[in-house]
């Protein structure tokens, strides 16, 4: 049963369409991902769904409530974790949770119990009375997640919940998110990390320039680009090399990514020697070279001709 129905949702900023006639449904209990580069319109979509940004056109129904007509009711049943750590540095972890809990109508003994439980879940029980300004970045992110869940929302919007975190902290946030879903919370996650979407999400919508360019489970999306393999090169590659690689027969796409280079081809063995030669001709020093199965990043490259950059 759909819990979120997005209908022709659009947002225009100074003539630029940040979100362009978006249509989407999210099922109850699902962990749904919006994947796309920065500026794709993911956060704008979440801002509209969470009623802090008025749509230019279209609407969405969240658990039976129209975001335009019943914003207060929508805010009662959603939890939102924004990119910014929206906490009060001079309040303690418990005080922050209690404050936002009260704003959501959780009071008294129920609130105390919930604060204790949620601090336990996000592994901050021992820092209950510490001021947030003494926390590390990872701890702040965990508390930020906890605030989004303090009132047991039906739907949790996570807007880039691991942006800027180191790999260890990111992993710990991923495990928390999995745990929230296991408790029955529907989650809409936006991210520009393809591993995050791949690891966490039941279904993923790939967004680019305000539109959905692909939708499906991570496996379906990866299959959708055909029987392609990826030659992944970790190296500092010049732009002109990409043009050269694209001219090699049987190379479908070649793109520079944040880590180096990705070449999409239906016949990796056949083109490998030419790829290596092109790299050597340009004097590129390789840290590593692997032939791997396509990822969601390759789906994005295939569909848009661009990489999901950091």
């Amino acid at each position: 049963m759909p819990i979120v129905e997005i209908r022709d949702l659009s947002k225009t900023f100074n003539g630029r369409k940040a979100v362009d006639r978006l249509n989407l449904t999210i099922e109850e209990g699902e962990l749904f991902g919006l994947l796309g580069p920065n500026g794709a319109g993911k956060s704008t979509t979440v801002a509209m769904l969470s009623t802090v940004l008025q749509p230019t056109d279209g609407t969405a129904i969240v658990s039976g409530h129209d975001i335009r007509k019943r914003p207060k009711e929508v805010r009662e049943i959603i939890g939102v974790v924004t990119q910014d750590v929206g906490l009060y540095d001079d309040l303690t972890a418990a005080e922050n949770l209690a404050y936002f809990g009260k704003l959501h109508g959780v009071e008294g003994g129920k609130l105390r119990k919930r604060v204790n439980k949620i601090l336990d879940i996000v592994q901050l029980k021992d820092r209950t009375k510490s001021r947030v300004k003494t926390f590390s970045g990872g701890m702040k992110h965990r508390l930020n997640l906890a605030v989004g869940l303090i009132h047991k929302p039906e739907i949790l919007f996570l807007d880039e919940p691991t942006a800027g975190l180191d790999p260890a902290a990111r992993l710990s946030v991923w495990e928390l998110i999995k745990g929230f879903q296991a408790e029955g919370t529907t989650i809409l996650l936006t991210t520009h990390y393809m591993e995050e979407a791949d690891y966490l999400c039941d279904r993923v919508a790939i967004m680019d320039q305000g539109k959905i360019v692909a939708l499906g489970t991570p496996a379906e999306l990866k299959r959708s680009i055909g029987k392609l393999e990826v030659i992944e090169v970790k190296a500092r590659a010049p732009k002109k090399l990409v043009a050269k690689l694209r001219k090699i027969r049987k190379v479908e796409k070649a793109e520079i990514t944040s880590e180096g280079l990705r070449v999409l081809t239906p016949a990796a063995d056949a083109v490998l020697s030419q790829v290596v030669k092109s790299l050597a001709d340009e004097g590129v020093h390789m840290d590593s070279l692997n032939i791997i199965q396509p990822t969601l990043e390759d789906v994005f490259i295939k569909l848009t001709g661009r990489a999901l950059r950091d």
């Binding site: 969470s50 009623t51 802090v52 940004l53 008025q54 207060k72 009711e73 805010r75 009662e76 959603i78 939102v80 924004t82 990119q83 910014d84 750590v85 929206g86 906490l87 009060y88 540095d89 936002f100 704003l103 959501h104 109508g105 605030v147």
Partner: protein, 348 residues
């Protein structure tokens, strides 16, 4: 010559720090300018209101002598001279009686609420008159129109209270909102199922409580430590204080809608409050300022707040006497709050 590179970097950073530039150049200019305009042309005494009941040669000569020191403003009779001082139109009123030429004593009405300026004028008149009569017993009969002792703290406590309450309320609310915007807490508050009015109302109410505490602490300090008398109703003092707090809160909200950093927010509040304090007579009696500056002063909310405080504390006046000033102060507060609510940025 690496130190030059380091110095050039520092200077570049300095030129990009708008707050630093404000406090380095603009703010001192502002204060130097105000002080210069007030005191630069020398110490100016307010007009002396004179009721001349004796039109004889000697009395005319006496008036001419006074004209060497004061600008004389002639009034009809003794009552007018006294009333003008009582109403705040004059600092000192002088009555030259019918029998002046026969040695009759000059009567002098002064408003001690005007502080040093009144004392200075009174002393000057006494001195001029004594010389005119070439010594002998004091030919001036001085009378304070409020009939009560005036305490220096009755000027300082309300003056500094107004300034610090406005500063705290203005900077406090503006900085809190700027920090909330930057940290994302602002957005998180709006994501809760609360009305926007509740969010702003919370800010306004907390600033109001802090402002009231300030007022109570400053006045308690003046009364308990310095023995400052408050002749009027404490409720009126609280009412004036409450309006001052709301004005500061409105100003802070207004500033928060355009300031992007806490530094910018405090600079903006300083830039408004400091000139308003100087021109509003919070630091000195406004009567010391040149006439054109007094006309500016008369439209400022700080002036009306100070006039109201002085009327209640020094003269024990009631609500009716300070109603016009309260109306001006309330008007400013409503306009600033309305403007702040209209311009408040709810979306980034």
């Amino acid at each position: 010559m690496k130190f030059l590179t380091c110095a050039a970097k520092d200077l570049r950073l300095f030129t990009r720090d708008r707050t630093g530039l404000f406090f380095t150049f603009l703010f001192p200019f502002l204060l130097i300018g105000i002080f210069g305009l007030i005191f630069g042309a020398g110490y100016r005494l307010p007009d002396l209101h004179v009721a001349q009941e004796d039109n004889g040669q000697l009395a005319n000569l006496y008036v001419s002598t006074l004209e060497n020191v004061f600008k004389i403003h002639k009034v009809e009779n003794a009552e007018a001279a006294e009333q003008n001082v009582r109403n705040g139109l004059a600092v000192v009123g002088l009555v030259i009686p019918e029998n002046f030429s026969r040695g009759g004593k000059v009567r002098l009405f002064y408003d001690p609420a005007k502080g040093d300026i009144a004392i200075s004028m009174k002393a000057t008149i006494e001195s001029v008159t004594q010389r005119f009569w070439a010594g002998g017993e004091s030919p001036v009969e001085s009378q304070s129109v409020v009939g009560r002792e005036i305490h220096a703290m009755q000027h300082f406590v309300p003056g500094w209270s107004i300034m610090f309450i406005l500063m705290t309320a203005g900077i406090g609310i503006a900085s809190t909102i700027v920090v909330e915007r930057k940290s994302g807490a602002f957005k998180r508050n709006l994501l809760a199922p609360i009305r926007r009015g509740s969010f702003l109302g919370g800010h306004v109410f907390s600033a109001f409580v802090i402002g009231c505490l300030q007022l109570a602490v400053y006045f308690a300090f003046g009364i308990l430590v310095f023995g400052m008398p408050v002749y009027g109703s404490p409720l009126l003092v609280a009412l004036i204080g409450a309006l001052v707090v709301f004005f500061g809160v409105g100003l802070g909200l207004l500033v928060s809608s355009f300031a992007r950093t806490t530094d910018a927010a405090s600079s903006a509040v300083w830039a408004v409050i400091m000139p308003m304090s100087a021109l509003g007579g919070l630091w000195w009696a406004k009567e010391m300022m040149p006439a054109w500056m007094q006309s500016i002063s008369n439209v400022l909310p700080t002036t009306h707040a100070m006039d109201s405080f002085r009327a209640v504390i020094m003269r024990g006046e009631g609500l009716a006497a300070i109603a016009p000033s309260l109306a001006v102060l309330a008007g400013f507060t409503i306009v600033v709050l309305a403007l702040a609510l209209k311009l408040f940025r709810w979306e980034e």
